[in-house]
């Protein structure tokens, strides 16, 4: 379109530049801090120019936090969440959107409501469940008297136990359960034309075939968007791993990052090694940032049909 708006174009560039600056300044400072020595970081007034110790700090942070193993763990966590969530969300949304049963709306709301009570506020009971994921069923059995009945009949006591503490499963499962992915899929599935379903039905495809051979291939950009969101989300998990992982062999990066800046309310925390912490921050940031940059094209596209 022919548009003569030089002033406006300049203003636009300025806005974008300023916005970019605002968003990037914290990251830049992180970078600067990661290049300095501890005294340089703590100097007043601070220097905003990069120092020369980037690689020393990166190496030191890497070794000190044993990031090698944490990366592997976090990668397992993130992959597990991404795959699990994409799968669970897809089949759930499919079950809600493409079948007509009385409970559709009920199920929809049951899932939707989970968005509203974050982990932080139900952390203690959730922890108990993680310690034995079968405890709800055990308690139900106990309450309805089945345990007693079985014990009376067979002499064996039913003791269901599935401990998820200090395990990848424990890290992954509760994160898989949240509703975001189910929504994204639901929104997308609603845009699938009826005719496509009908064509598949005429071709003789049952629901599972339709899901696997038609819907999933069609959702590729959505899957990409969801995978990106979920990867970033699970890579940056902090509170849940902090709680259920006591075995350092299962530690994840964000928690490790927190450890570089010790809790100074407890004595002995040592001085915060901001330079190392920021170097660690840079290291930890790399995978999700790469994923986002790499996926951003699909990311934006995958979200287009979802917000209406």
């Amino acid at each position: 379109m022919i548009e003569r708006a030089r002033g406006l174009n300049i203003a636009t560039q300025i806005i974008l530049g300023a916005g970019l600056l605002t968003l990037l300044v914290p990251l830049y400072l992180t970078f600067v801090a990661a290049t300095q020595t501890l005294p340089e970081v703590n100097r007043v007034p601070p220097t905003f120019l990069p120092g020369t110790h980037l690689f020393d700090n990166l190496a030191e942070a890497w070794v000190r936090s044993n990031f090698g193993q944490k990366f592997v763990n976090t990668m397992i966590l993130a992959t597990g969440v991404v795959v699990g969530k994409i799968t669970v969300a897809a089949i759930t949304a499919f079950g809600i959107v493409f079948f007509q049963h009385r409970f559709r709306m009920l199920i929809f709301w049951l899932i939707f409501i989970t968005l509203m009570l974050p982990l932080e506020v139900r952390i203690v009971p959730t922890y108990s469940v993680a310690a034995n994921a079968l405890s709800p069923f055990q308690q139900i059995l106990d309450v309805v008297g089945l345990t007693w009945l079985l014990e009376a009949l067979t002499g064996m006591r039913v003791a269901l136990e599935w401990n998820l503490l200090n395990s990848y499963t424990g890290l992954i499962l509760p994160l898989v359960a949240t509703a975001t992915g189910t929504f994204l899929y639901r929104q997308f599935f609603m845009t699938i034309p009826d005719e496509l379903v009908e064509a598949a039905q005429m071709d003789g495809a049952g629901p599972l075939r339709f899901l696997w051979e038609v819907l999933i291939p069609l959702s590729r950009t959505n899957i990409a968007a969801l995978a990106t969101i979920m990867f970033v989300y699970s890579w940056n998990q902090y509170l849940w791993p902090l709680l259920i992982i006591t075995d350092p062999n299962y530690g994840v990066v964000a928690v490790e990052l927190g450890q570089l800046v010790p809790d100074s309310n407890t004595t002995g925390g040592g001085i915060p090694h901001w330079n190392l912490a920021m170097a660690g921050t840079l290291i930890v940031m790399v995978p999700p940032v790469l994923v986002v940059i790499f996926m951003q094209r699909w990311f934006v596209r995958g979200l287009i049909n979802t917000d209406k």
Partner: protein, 376 residues
């Protein structure tokens, strides 16, 4: 063995009934076109045959077997959808072969059959493309190929041409005809385009508001529409319908402006002096003093050039009319000009019911007309 018998079939959505007890028998190998305005229930009827829509009442049998409770895939029907409903992520070959894949047919055989279908629909060179990379007509052909490959007993089409441009529509029409001639499968084709219906149908079914208005061969329906609804729905531009009154003599119809139109006497029986609706198709009107002498006049305002003839727009008896003239008579606008038409091409309808006047059965009607024509 794939005749389709539809018995008192009804469809309701909640409280609203959209198909009202339809009866229809389609013979094995016949090509039936269901025609009607938007929302009249064509698709619903078709989809009940396909099994995509539950039947609220009545019974549908395919090849003698009641299919009311069968799933779509068990009915042996194939369907071509209005928007083609191709699988966007599959290649043309995969789209066409998908039904075979589901049926568990081996790769080699599948490839062979896809190949032969693709050849039949002229898409051998496009097998690896995705639907998004095809033109409208090509997509349409893929949709057709997908239906063909299953060699179904029954073909169902739901306005498969309505998304194509005029040119392609003509071409695809021919291809569907050829296809039908080759496969001889029972076919039910839904459309709201009357040209499509006329050119394709062995038999046409005209629907209106959930009811069947007329069933018959295209030329029958065109030449002897059973009601004003059919008369105005079929033909483009549609039949001119003029309110009038039968003269006492029963030889003319008097129009609103007092002009008298001579009509075949047989039609006047017992209706002398009663109001009627007079119908005449645009192409049955022509310039010039009537052969019989007692000329009619109309006033024209403008014309549309069609290349193949011209449409004159004007008024007759206070009513808008259109005349399709193929002669090159220089147009005269704004003043009354003589027009004429062959009385044998006139149609008379009951004012209240809209039903065609004269012999109830098409056959009787026909004989009467031809009789008249012979003596005219």
């Amino acid at each position: 063995m794939a005749d389709i018998n539809i018995r008192r079939v009804e469809k309701s959505y909640g409280d609203t009934r959209v198909v009202h007890g339809v009866d229809l028998d389609i013979r094995d190998g016949e090509f039936v076109v269901i025609l009607g305005p938007s929302g009249c229930g064509k698709s619903t009827l078709l989809r009940m045959i396909a099994g995509l829509e539950a039947i609220s009442g009545g019974e549908i049998a395919i090849g003698g077997r009641v299919v009311n409770d069968l799933e779509p895939r068990q009915r042996g029907c194939a369907m071509v959808f209005q928007n083609y409903a191709l699988y966007p992520h599959m290649s043309v070959a995969e789209n066409i072969g998908y039904a075979l894949k589901i049926a568990g047919i081996g790769k080699a055989e599948r490839r062979a059959r896809v190949q032969s279908v693709a050849t039949a629909i002229g898409l051998e060179d496009y097998l690896d493309r995705r639907p998004g990379q095809l033109s409208g007509g090509q997509r349409q052909r893929v949709a057709m190929g997908r239906a063909m490959i299953r060699e179904p007993k029954v073909f169902l089409f739901d306005e498969p041409l309505s998304n194509l441009d005029a040119k392609l529509r003509v071409q695809m029409r021919l291809e569907i005809r050829h296809l039908h001639q080759r496969l001889a499968a029972t076919s039910v084709f839904v459309t709201h385009d009357q040209i499509e219906a006329m050119t394709l149908a062995d038999r046409m079914v005209v629907m209106n508001q959930g009811n069947i208005e007329q069933v018959g061969a295209p030329s029958d329906v065109y030449d002897r529409p059973a009601s004003t609804f059919v008369a105005s729905f079929i033909g483009s531009p549609p039949m001119n319908l003029l309110p009038g009154r039968m003269t006492e003599s029963g030889q003319h119809v008097e129009l609103a402006d007092g002009q008298h139109v001579p009509i075949p006497t047989a039609l006047a029986q017992g209706r002398a002096g009663r109001p009627v609706t007079l119908g005449i198709r645009p192409e049955d009107i022509r310039h010039g003093p009537a052969a019989g002498g007692s000329g009619l006049t109309a006033k024209f305002d403008f014309l549309e050039e069609l290349g193949m003839g011209r449409l004159f727009h004007g008024t007759l008896g206070g009513q808008d009319i259109i005349m399709h003239a193929t002669d090159k008579t220089p147009p005269v606008f704004g003043t009354a000009v003589d027009i004429a038409f062959d009385p044998s091409r006139l149609h008379l309808f009951d004012v209240e019911t809209g039903k065609r006047l004269a012999g109830e059965s098409g056959r009787a009607d026909k004989e009467q007309w031809s009789g008249y024509r012979a003596t005219a």
